[in-house]
């Protein structure tokens, strides 16, 4: 007996194509990540089809780990992942509960278990996103309550895998150490996705889309200044990819507002709409990043 299953119909029914396209459109670069997400989506789609013909019984393990430097889009991708899982019916509600160590680990004996369970219950039916997950395990303090939180999580991740999906996120090297000391956690996570740093031209594209979202614009000079800025900033410590770009733009907006205000006050008080939305070269060149580079 051979049954035919129409994958296209399932794909259409799940409407994940939109989410994948959104992911492609909204996120600059991150090609390996997008490829992995597509692979996972295809895998889930095929499992769904296999379930329909009775080839597969249980749900596949869906817990994931996102590693990468700050500002590489881990949280954003987690939101998209939740949407994909929701549309394919692997999580019932599709909400994302984003937590850090503080939300899971208590301050005294007996405080951790209820706290962790509370968070896990809130996340049921959706995705639990644990940012900086490696902080949960502190080897230097053997009485740290983080271990307790990890054990409770492991139990729920195993027994309630139909009810919630856990996504851990953090720096690559520190997550690796975390998994080495917690083999139980490592073996329960099916998908490891590494987020690469952005290239300068990708960062520039990000800057463009951010400026557009805020309804500002660059002129030719400020655009060149931004390219310079990115080149300098990348070499400096605490560079957080897209987040650094956002902060730089926020500060440039402040300087722009100041400049526009001063020039209007000095003159007749009128101002062109064009001047209100343009970020000029001096707004960007005034950044500390350039003065640090000269020293």
């Amino acid at each position: 007996m051979s049954e035919a299953i129409n994958l296209k119909a399932i794909l259409k029914e799940a409407q994940i194509q939109d989410v994948l396209e959104e992911l492609d459109r909204e996120l600059v670069g991150l090609l390996p990540v997008k490829r992995r997400i597509r692979e996972i989506a295809a895998f889930l789609l095929v499992s769904k089809a296999r379930q329909k013909v009775g080839l597969e019984a249980g749900t596949p393990s869906l817990h994931m780990c996102f590693t990468g430097n700050p500002g590489t889009g881990k949280t954003t991708v987690a939101m998209k992942m939740a949407a994909i899982l929701h549309r394919l019916g692997y999580v019932r509600k599709g909400h994302v509960v984003s937590v850090t160590r503080d939300d899971l680990v208590g301050q005294y004996i007996g405080h951790t278990a209820p706290k962790t369970k509370e968070v896990l219950k809130k996340a049921m039916g959706g995705v639990l996103f644990i940012d900086e997950a490696y902080y949960l395990y502190r080897p230097e303090n053997e009485r740290d309550y983080g271990q307790e939180a990890i054990e409770i999580m492991l139990q729920v991740m195993e027994n309630n895998r139909d009810d919630l999906v856990v996504i851990l996120a953090g720096y690559k090297d520190r997550m690796d150490t975390f998994f080495q000391s917690n083999p139980g956690m490592s073996s329960r996570i099916a998908h490891h996705i590494d987020f690469p740093d952005y290239e300068p031209d990708e960062l520039m594209a990000i800057a463009h889309s951010m400026v557009g979202q805020m309804h500002y614009q660059f002129d030719a000079q400020s655009e060149r200044a931004m390219v310079d800025y990115i080149a300098h900033r990348r070499g400096q410590p605490h560079f957080a990819n897209a987040r650094s770009i956002r902060n730089a733009l926020d500060r440039a907006r402040l300087r722009q507002a100041n400049r526009v205000f001063d020039s209007a006050m000095a003159g007749s008080g009128t101002i062109q709409a064009e001047a209100l939305k343009t970020i000029t070269e001096e707004d960007i060149r005034a950044s500390r990043v350039f003065s640090a580079a000269k020293e």
């Binding site: 019932r92 509600k93 909400h95 209820p114 896990l120 219950k121 809130k122 996340a123 049921m124 039916g125 959706g126 729920v156 309630n160 139909d162 009810d163 919630l164």
Partner: protein, 138 residues
Amino acid sequence: MRITQGQFSFLPDLTDEEIRKQVDYAIGRGWALSVEWTDDPHPRNTYWNMWGIPMFEIKDGAAVLFEVNACRKAHSGVYIKVNAFDNTRGVESMCMSFIVQRPAQEPGFGLVRQEAGGRHIHYTTHSYATDKPMGERY
């Protein structure tokens, strides 16, 4: 004698899937869910033991089922119910309450007659199970 208290008690016991659906309905209405247990099921006993604190801010029935199962494990063979509380100002009361676990044997209630002054009789119901001390009743 099968105890009939709260909703659905004249129906066969709810399955876990049915419990989850009822709970999802309550969550959809914005009600807070709580789990309670007792081994004294007298109809006027409104003070059941709380299993944890009421659950606000949950999104899915699985969370309640998780607690119900934890309670079943800790207190097998006694009564467990799920309540839904509407905290809207002016309502502030239980909107749903149904039993999700009951003992295999339910001895039921007896009628007690108390002779009072002037040949008056006071009637009351008495749960046979409560003749035994707590923890040995079912």
